[in-house]
């Protein structure tokens, strides 16, 4: 796996030298061997250092890395049994959203999320993870099933947003997102959402009304993609990096703002460097959080979920002029 992001250039150079030495194999001299060890140490240290100090815009690039694990990768690595459920029973089977019933450590859950697709064929099939109305409705169907059978719902969020095509408008992408937002707060089963890559706008939120929201260390979550925000704010998407900084889109930002519950650490150099290690950390976090959520009586769970959202918002109050209105 190459180091192909711009800020990884120092790592790429170290990696090149390491590979040069490794290619010698058995012919490696003693001092070269020492040098290799030293370079490998340097690479790990530099990786740790660089990845420990990413700017927000760099995190956007990591979150979008083409080798980053996707929903289906995690399902494969985390679940011991899986039955994919397809279709919204109304119009189609949106491959941008995939999921089904799965067994994690012997316990059945519903697990679903955005699938961006890795190669061009899969990307096209999955609409690059941009959900259509059918994807929202398929997810809703699964959530209702989960509720019926007292299975927790786990959603993986990884999208730039909902699909903005003409056909999406025709089939009610707004309505589909809105319906999820109305049903999820009252779903009588625990919901755990994890932003595994990009969380973008309504296309993310429609899968992210949860009891707890976790984010992978380098994941981002935002009201609009940095490009879209820059375009809206300054009529120029070239200012995306600026928008990324201004909008506070990283996991630490959002933890600080109280909008997420937990950050899940990634392997050194990002989730894409080690899918298996990432999946194991993620699995542990899922199990721990689910165990805590399942201890709560249903009415407490629902009340806490409601209050979680009810209390979001930052505003001040100022005295109202006499007679101009009443306060709550």
């Amino acid at each position: 796996m190459a180091y192909d992001l711009e800020f990884e250039r120092p790592l790429a150079e170290l990696d090149k030298r390491i590979q040069g030495l490794q290619r010698k194999g058995d012919r490696l001299k003693a001092d070269e061997r020492a040098q290799l060890r030293s370079l490998e140490q340097q690479l790990e240290e530099r990786t740790r250092q660089i990845y420990g100090n990413l700017t927000r815009w760099q995190r956007v690039q990591v979150a979008r890395h083409r080798d980053r694990p996707y929903t289906n990768d995690y399902i494969k690595l985390i679940c011991d049994d899986y039955f994919e459920m397809r279709g919204d029973r109304r119009y189609g089977d949106d491959r941008a959203i995939q999921g089904g019933m799965a067994s994690i450590d012997g316990k059945t859950v519903f697990i679903l999320g955005h699938q961006k697709g890795r190669d061009l064929k899969e990307k096209t099939e999955c609409s690059f993870g941009l959900t259509h109305p059918e994807g929202c409705r398929k997810a809703l169907r699964m959530m209702r099933e989960a509720e019926r059978f007292h299975m927790p719902v786990i959603t993986f969020i990884d999208t730039q947003g909902a699909s903005p095509g003409l056909e999406d408008e025709q089939r009610g992408i707004s309505q589909a997102i809105a319906e999820n937002l109305e049903v999820m707060p009252r779903l009588h089963t625990p919901i755990l959402s994890i932003v595994i890559g990009e969380g973008g706008s309504g296309g993310a939120l429609a899968f992210g009304v949860a009891d707890r929201i976790l984010m992978l260390e380098n994941a981002i979550y935002m009201v609009a993609s940095p490009e879209a925000a820059a375009s809206i704010l300054w009529r120029d998407s070239a200012f995306a990096s600026h928008a990324a900084e201004a909008m506070r889109i990283t996991a630490p930002d959002l933890l600080e703002l109280g909008l997420i519950e937990q950050i899940i650490p990634e392997p050194v150099g990002g989730a894409h460097r080690n899918h298996l290690e990432m999946a194991e950390t993620l699995k542990a976090a899922i199990l721990e959080n689910l165990a805590e959520l399942e201890r709560l009586p249903m009415d407490v769970l629902l009340e806490k979920r409601y209050q979680r959202y009810r209390n979001i918002g930052a505003f001040a109050t100022e005295p109202v002029k006499a007679g101009s209105g009443s306060n709550r």
Partner: protein, 301 residues
């Protein structure tokens, strides 16, 4: 349009233009001087200001519905003198300390407040229509394009809670380009917050009427605006998730002329009716009566 004043609002739609008139007057709630004229952006007719006002800001020639301020909307819909404002003391802050390339968010808020005479993009309260009480929230497009930040979200939520407490129907009049970028994810989360409140309202059997006016797009359309027990729209309003510009730009699709209008969403089964502004108050009154006369009196009023 090169500043930060616009939210996620699509432009270039046939309805997205402001009327060509003296700007600060035409979009304000204050009465026009007798001799002023307004040009209809749709049919280019020159309208005498006073006539235009008497006609509820609808072009008598082509039926184009001009945007209304929250104050005008209240005057249009409610029984006179019945409006009582809720949560009037809420004012926006700058929770992200938003670092802008141009005007700071704080400065922008002050500007917009001065220009519009509003503190935020939503006015909430209670009132009556033909004697029947309701809780309501009205978005005002003049304030940063009706964009949703924390205050807008909070005010709408309080209106819903008021409806829930008093068991009276809730009306939300949308006019918004969507979420407000300068409040980042806090802004997106208002959609979840309002929708959760609506879920409680729905469970309690209290009616919610959503009225879509020009424009209703983005996160607003993709949440509470689409959740009405009844959804009404004014004619010719821009209504949709993405603006036509986004669709054409990102999806490389050319759009038929009426895409993302009131007529489009009606044809595609997303709303119940398009109601001319002239009939709006009567239609709302009819709906309130019908809900009021439900069998086991779910609604007290």
């Amino acid at each position: 349009m090169k500043d930060e004043s616009q939210p996620a609002l699509p432009v270039n739609s046939q309805n997205g233009n402001h009327p060509e008139t003296i700007p600060s007057v035409a979009v304000s709630a204050r009465a026009l001087p007798d001799n002023l004229a307004v040009k209809c952006p749709n049919c280019r007719e020159l309208l005498v200001g006073k006539d235009w006002e008497k006609n509820n800001h609808v072009c008598p020639r082509c039926g184009h519905h001009f945007r209304l301020s929250a104050e005008q909307r209240i005057e249009l819909l409610l029984d006179e003198g019945t409006f009582e404002e809720l949560a009037a003391d809420l004012i926006p802050t700058d929770p992200l300390e938003f670092v802008s390339r141009s005007q700071s968010y704080r400065a922008k808020l002050e500007d917009e407040q001065a220009k519009s005479g509003l503190k935020e993009s939503v006015v909430a309260g209670t009132g009556k229509i033909e004697g029947l009480p309701l809780a309501l929230a009205i978005m005002d497009f003049r304030f940063i394009g009706g964009s949703m930040g924390s205050v807008a979200g909070e005010k709408i939520t309080r209106a819903i809670e008021k409806g829930l407490e008093d068991h009276i129907p809730v009306l939300i009049v949308s006019a918004s380009g969507g979420a407000r970028m300068q409040e980042g994810l806090l802004s997106l989360m208002q959609m979840a917050k309002i929708s959760a409140a609506l879920a409680r309202l729905s469970e309690a059997g209290v009616p919610y009427i959503s009225l879509l006016t020009d424009p209703t797009t983005g996160g607003v359309m993709a949440s509470f605006a689409s959740l009405g027990d009844v959804i009404l729209a004014e004619p010719g309003a821009l209504i949709g998730f993405s603006g036509p510009r986004v669709v054409e730009q990102f999806m490389h699709q050319r759009l038929p002329k009426d895409t993302n209008t009131s007529e489009f969403v009606l044809a595609h089964g997303m709303i119940d009716a398009i109601v001319h502004r002239r009939m709006l108050r009567a239609t709302l009154a009819k709906l309130l009566r019908l809900y009021h006369n439900a069998g086991r009196s779910a609604v007290i009023g």
